[in-house]
Assembly symmetry: C2
Homo-oligomer: 227 residues x 2
Amino acid sequence: MPSLVHFTLDPFSRRLRLALAEYGVPVELIDEEPWEPSPHLYELNPAGTLPVYLEDSTTALSGIEAITEYLEETRATRIPLIPGDAFERAEVRRLAGWFDGKFYAEVSEPLLTEKVIRRFLRRDKGGGGPDTARVRQAMLRLRDHLDYISHLVDHRVWLAGEELSIADLAAAGHISAIDYFGDIPWADYPVAKGWYQRVKSRPSFRPLLADTIRGMQPGPHYADLDF
Amino acid sequence: MPSLVHFTLDPFSRRLRLALAEYGVPVELIDEEPWEPSPHLYELNPAGTLPVYLEDSTTALSGIEAITEYLEETRATRIPLIPGDAFERAEVRRLAGWFDGKFYAEVSEPLLTEKVIRRFLRRDKGGGGPDTARVRQAMLRLRDHLDYISHLVDHRVWLAGEELSIADLAAAGHISAIDYFGDIPWADYPVAKGWYQRVKSRPSFRPLLADTIRGMQPGPHYADLDF
């Protein structure tokens, strides 16, 4: 069975767990804590980043776009996650890149660093309480992204077009990770919320809703489909 | 004719200029200064980033991976830049991702910001002289990357394998942009230098070697193939 070296709340690992489930590929999960990466992780991926996909015991793939495209080339027999013609596929990849780059830098990296990573780091490595100014700034930027999601699904069924795509799963990987803390202002964004409810209701999502990390309970609505 | 909204020293724009030349696709260049993005850029790409590829007057594509994959799907008839089987293609994309993410964050973003962008920004927007500590740190990180390039081409013909690929062009986009300043310690990295000489000697590279930006002459060896 293939395996995935991942961290529960890592948005990129989550995207791949969703994609693998949508493709119908069973996978064994191997936990890794990104604030204390093992020497083994660097052997598998010289960049030291998560996730790493192991097709078998000898073949490790890393880099989120590399793994995403590899799975689409080899496993998209039942359902493509980069669907459509060349232009439509470019739109899927543009939006996946939006969440990987812009959303990650502005929202999920600061929130995950301040709310999770710093709890587990030793104080001399940057551990401690969250930098509340950084959290506040990320929550402001989050509102711009919820506006953008609302704008997209006002005109489309899914983020990139008429079909579910890796753009939805990339977005859901990031949003579900920060939704764990329970403070996304969903009430102000009914259209984005409707989109997220549809993604969250998919069978591929169920294992993510059962996730917990030690010492931190998820917010009360995290696993609720009618939040 | 397709066009590319670009900035001369933007590493991602450079990658696409190289790729388009390798594919044999003529393109009209439209200049944009990233420190003062025009409202038109935001209409073409809501993320406001360069480059934007215009297939024709109505179709704008943005996001570096989205444009890269689009061109490979539609223009790689003579020469593929993501060659090989699914595993080999994953290795090409992993390395392109390495330069897009890690090299950019550690080396090209700080060097370009400190050495170029801050010269052109108004002082109240962060303009001024370079932060020398940031430059020094980026030059240290650059050495790690030159080691990694040396390691790769010790075992391979090109960065990702036996054939030229988008990984080489991604790396060359970043490295050529900072080589403009003339302070890459090439003498300490003969193997990486050999690889860069081979890339630099390709006809696709010639227009980049003629580039200049206002008020900044390139280093004396920038355009020299026997640097």
